[in-house]
Structures are given as C-alpha cells and as structure tokens.
Amino acid sequence: MTPDLPARPVGDLAYLPEHADGAAHVVWWGNVGFMLIEGTGFLLAIGAYLYLQSQSPAWPLNGDALPALTWSGIFTGGLVLSIIPNLWVRRQARQKREGRVRIGVLTMTLIGFALITARWFEFQHLGVRWNGDAYGSVVWLLMVLHTSHVVTDLGETAVQAAWLYTHEVGPDQFADVEDNANYWNFVVLAWLPIYGLIYWLPRLA
C-alpha cells in the first residue's frame, strides 16, 4: 500500500454483513468494560464496609438501629422479579421484533420508576444518617453507589423507549436494547451481595 510495498489482494470483505448481534458486535464489549469498572467499584466499596466492620468493636456502631426490612425487601423482590421481563425484552431484541421490543422497553421503564419509588422509602428506613458515624457513612456509600446505577439505567431505558416509539428500529438499535438489558441484569446482580451485607450480615453476626 506504499510505493515500496504494493498491495496483493487475497480476499474480499464486501460480502460481510454490516451488522452483528451479541458478543460479535463491538459495542457489546464496551458495555462489558463498563460493567467491569463499576463491578470493581462495588467490590471495593464492599471491601471498605467489611474493613470498617473488622476495625470496630460493635457493628452497627454506637447502638445504631438496624436497617428496616420492609421497603428493602419490596425493592429487592421487585428488582429480582424484574429480571423476568428484562430477559423477555432481550429475547425479543435478539429476534428483532419491533412491536414487542417497544412494549418491553416501555414496561421496563415503568418497572424502573416503581423500583425507584421503593428505593426512596428504603432510604427513609435505613435507621442511620451518613454523618452519624462510619457505619452510617459506609451504608450510605453502598446505597448511593447502587442507586446511581439504578437511576442511570432507568434514564437510559426511558430515553430508549422514547426513541423506539418515534423511530424506525434498525439492527444497531436492537443491539442497543440487548446491551441495555444486559446492563440491567448487572444492576440486579450487583445488588444481591450489597443487600446481604447491609441488611443481613449485622443481623447474623
């Protein structure tokens, strides 16, 4: 391809498709990359919680109340159940069913709003403030960290729903829906160890 090194054709790429799904698609890997970054953040925050617990004579500190189980249970149950419609949306996206994908993404948006409402009440019943002591600080750290992911993905899902209903859906957008569904699964799975840590470890210890 330079004067000293001429090109010697050995094949043609014109017959390749212009789109791909799943792990073949280049954007899928970016999504995984950001999950790795954020997953590492979650693990380190969990590590900070366990470290502070290990350095304290009592946990929760200073006789802080244990976090309440009702709203956190409603949130967690709802979050886990949301995997079912989420997987359904992902399957519809893989099969490129435009109408069902629109309905599914809109449904996931509504579920997201319901979960955020439950999360709001969960915050009211944590039993400790962030500035009370280090226990409160690290509980709020984990809660805020996870909630920011719920909000971010909800925002993305809502924008996606608005776009899908107003535009013709192409192969790249089906791949986007699939990536967004994968991300929601990540947000759900990331919550489970944090839920165990915040609500059950102090009770069992």
Partner: protein, 637 residues
Amino acid sequence: MIALPMPEDAADRRARLEKTWADPKGVWGFLTTVDHKRIAARYIVTVIALMFLAGMLGLHMRLQLAFPDLKILGPQMYNETFSLHGSTMLFLVSVPVMEAMAIWLVPLMLGQRGMAYPRLAAFSYWMYLGGVMMLWVPHALGITPDLGWFEYPPLSGPGYSPGHRADIWAQMITFTEVAALAASVNIVATIIKLRPPGMTLARMPMFLWAMLVASLMTIFALPAVMLVTSMLISDRLVSTHFFAPAGGGDALLFQHLFWFFGHPEVYIIFVPAIGFVTAIVETFSRRTIFGHTALVLSVLSIGVLAFGLWVHHMFAVGLPRLGNAFYTAASMAIALPAGLQIFCWIATLWSGRPRFATPLLWVIGFILTFVVGGLSGIMTASAPLDLQLTDTYFIVAHFHYVLVGGAMFPLIGALCYWYPKATGRMMSERWGIVAFALVFGGFNLGFFPMHILGLEGMPRRIYTYSAGMGWGPLNLVATIGSAASILGGLVLVGNAWISRKHGTLAGANPWDGPSLEWAALSPPPTYNFEYTPVVESIAPLWTAKDGLPVMTGAGVDRREVVVTSAIDGVPLYRHKGAQPSIWPLVAAVATTIMFVASIFTPWAVAWGAVPIGAALTGWFWPQRPRARTGPLRTRAR
C-alpha cells in the same frame, strides 16, 4: 481472482476515502474530530507542555536544595512545588501519555481506520484536559494542593486542611481517572475486536499485548482511587466519617484503597514501556523478538502480581508482621517476570545485528537505569530495611529510577522511533545523540547521589537542611545533574520541532520495521489504510513476499472498520464508524461543571446530572427515519 483498481481509478478511490474520513474544516473540525491520530497528537502535545512545567518545578526544588540553608523556596512554597510536581507527573503525564500513544498506535498497528469507539476517545481527551485545568488553573490563582501526590487523612481531612486545596487535588484525580478509564475500555475493545484478518492472539505484536494488559489493569485499579478520593471529598463536604477515628472511621482505609490503585499504577505506566522496548529492540536487532511467548506470559503475570503488592507502601504503619512478610515475598516475586524480560531483550540484541540508532540508545539507557531501580526496589521490598529507608531520599532515587528510567526513557525512545511515521520526516541523529547523552548522563548524575543521601538519613519533602548535616556536596551534584537532563529534554523537543519541517523525508518504513503501521504512508492519511491488511506471521512486513496481502471491500464512501473474532481474527462484519461530533465535548463540559461544583455543594451531583444526561442523550440518539408503525408513527399529510 480479486483485482485492485487501475492506477487512475486508484487515485479517485483515495480521493473518495479522503472525503469520507475528513474532518470539517477550521475550529469546528478541531472541536468535533474523532480521528484517533489528531486526538492522540493533542494528548501528546499537552503532556509535553506539562512535562516541561513539572520539570521546571523539579528544577526549582533542586535549586532550593543545592546548598544548605537556601531561601529560594519557603516551606509552604516547597510543599506546593513537590505536590504539584508529583501530582502532574503521576496523574497528568505518565498514565495519559501511555494511553495517548496507544490511541495513536493501536489502530495503525492493527491495519485499521479507527478505534472501536471514536467518540469515546475524543471524550477521554476533553476529560483529561478538564483534569489539567482542575489542577493548574487554581494554581495560577494561588490555590495549590500542598500535601504531596498522595494526600493521606487525617492531614487532608476537614480538621487539618480547611479550604479547597485538598478538594482540588481529589477532584483532579476524578477527571483523569474518567479519562483513563474511557481510553482503556476503548483500547481493550479495539485490540480484542478490531484485529486484522489473520492476526490471531499468537500473532499479536508485544506492544498490543502490553497495552491490552495495561488497559485491563487500569480498569481494575482506577476505581479504587476514584472511590477513595470521593470518600475523602465526602468526609470534607458532608461530614461522613470514613477516615475519622472519632466517628468510628479508620485513616488506614484511605491508604489501603489508595495503594490498591497506586501500586498497579506503577505497572500501568511500566507495562506499555515493555511494549515500546520490545518493538524497538526487534526492529533494531533485525530479528524477531527472542522469547515472544515468555514475554507475553511475563506481562500477564505482572498484571496479576501487581495487585498483590500494595501493602509494601505501608510497611511503616504498623501492620501485623505476618502481613509484612507476605507482601515482602510478593514484592520480590514480581522481580522474576521483570528480570525475564530483560534477558529476552538482551538475547534478542545479542543474537541479532543491532543498529545503534537513537531509539535503541534510549532502550539501552532504559535497561541500565531500570536494573538499578529494580534492584533498589528489591531492597525496599524487605520490610525491615524499608522501615529504615522509607521517607528518605533513597525512596526518591528509587522511584525516579523506575519511573523515569523504566517508563520515560522507553517513551522517548518510542517518540523517536515513531516520529517519522507521524510526521513523515526523520529527526536529526546527531542532536538525538546529544539529547540522549545529556538526559541519560544528567539523570544518573542527578539521582544516583540521592541513594547515598537517603542512606545518610536525609528525609524526603524537607525544604532545606543545615550545613552541619554534610549533605551539601551531593545535593549540589544532584542539582547539576538535574539541570543537565532538563537541558537534554529541551534539545530533544527542539530537535523534534525543527525536524518536522526540515528533517529528511522518511518514506513509509525508514527503520525497516516489521509491524503493520509501517505499511501506511508517513504521515498516515485520514483513513490510515486503503485496504485491509491480512496478517500471516508475527512480523508481517518481514514475511510479505510479492507485496502486502490485503482484503478489498471495506467501505469507501462510508466510514467502516472491520470487526473480527476475539481469538482468531476471523472477519465478522463491517462496522459503521462514527462521524465527527460535538457531543463528546458537550458531555465533557457538562461533566466538568458537575465535578467542579461538587467540591462546593453536594447538590451539584443531583442537578449536575441533568445536563450530563442531556448531553449523553444527544450523543447516543440514533439518526434514523421516523417510525412508520406503532402508536407514535408519523402520519401521511
């Protein structure tokens, strides 16, 4: 039989490719470009400007210490100077410059026309520039962080550091880490998915392996420092108690999280250098690298071991003895893969036909210097000895030997090596040798005496000393050496500046390099490669008989990159590349507003998210026709 177009059609085809990949003209083009070469070039120019500023800060400190009892810098100014020097070099120079080299080089080495996520690369630079301004604009206004490059609480906590100096330092880190994480995800995806047909993992050049490992390390290490500096800001702003013992917190938690990032960071800087050194040694030895597999495995093992060493930065804080013994062993273990690499490079040089051009001189300077730094590292890895040496000038000598010798020398070698590719012209060899002699000689003259000063007990971070300590003569030698190496740096930059107009024309492959970037024109056109190269060996340009094997069919009138399978490099599909866009800049500005405001009020995290969300919506909003089905379809008028 596939045929290429006739010469007259070929010229027309190149013109169409040029049009497809061209940026808009003028300022708009500058602000919207997603060309990986332009983005990398502005990264590198910014880094060089900062290296100059940090070098001047270093020289200022050396002048202050040249003789006992000088008063050029007072204690507060001295604190600010070493804090700014260290923070700039670690966060704004060393990591970003390695990312920048990768953003420029990885697509070229893959025979590709762009990165996997071109807009993310643009966003990465704008965020990095935000980090530069976060530190240097307040400095210009007289508000400079003054607690060193790692700001431990309780000193950096609300009780002992009122004002915003510590917040500025902490938030500067957030900027640069967002930039580095964005670049790293991009580099990983590009290396995994955009390899050319035939480039299996086994045929991947060492530089790409090094960048893959360094970028994965970045992904796993940098969240720790983002988390810990956010916790520090929140202790200072909203009265959390993470690091406040009175509230049940623990100051050592900061150190654990900081060094969980901080030690891998050293290797995040060093591992790309392994890639540079291997590329240079291979080309200038005129043989394929000795022990390619061993080198790859050693880089992978460094990538893992680097995460198990952080406590050796904390030997002096009084941790359990068994813990210290474990981290001593782990720290010594990492010398094994590093030593293995040195032997592979020496074996390649020994069995090849070396040409001692400037890039190879820098590599030899690297090997000599890095071995000294490695050996002093083994000394300080020993917990009992470290207890004596920590916070002395021995440590200052050690980390300058590993970071300057281990990363900056290979980087300069790399800049000399790829300069003809980037500019189309050769740098002066004569001035290159002068610059090398000044920097290499000056560096060793400047920093070797610091080992002895440290052993004599001179603490780091002191702004002066009395004549009775007997440290005067060696400090004077150190100052003279530092000045000589800065002079050498200026010669280097002057040589590069003049050569870009007056150097001899380089041609495509002036060093007879084996990897694909040398198959592009110098400088590469906007589209990099006319056709998609096919890789048949680990040194494709050395084995290309009767021309370079290529595949036709990648888009001419549409921006396309060829996506291949992750392991075997089998072509999968032609991916539509991104057009120039203002959204990465808008998103970076929105993020900057939120980051800056959030050191003053926690509510900025809430309201600042709105413009960021709007910018990201603009960024990712697909441009497609309006719906013709569904309840919100467009209706015919």
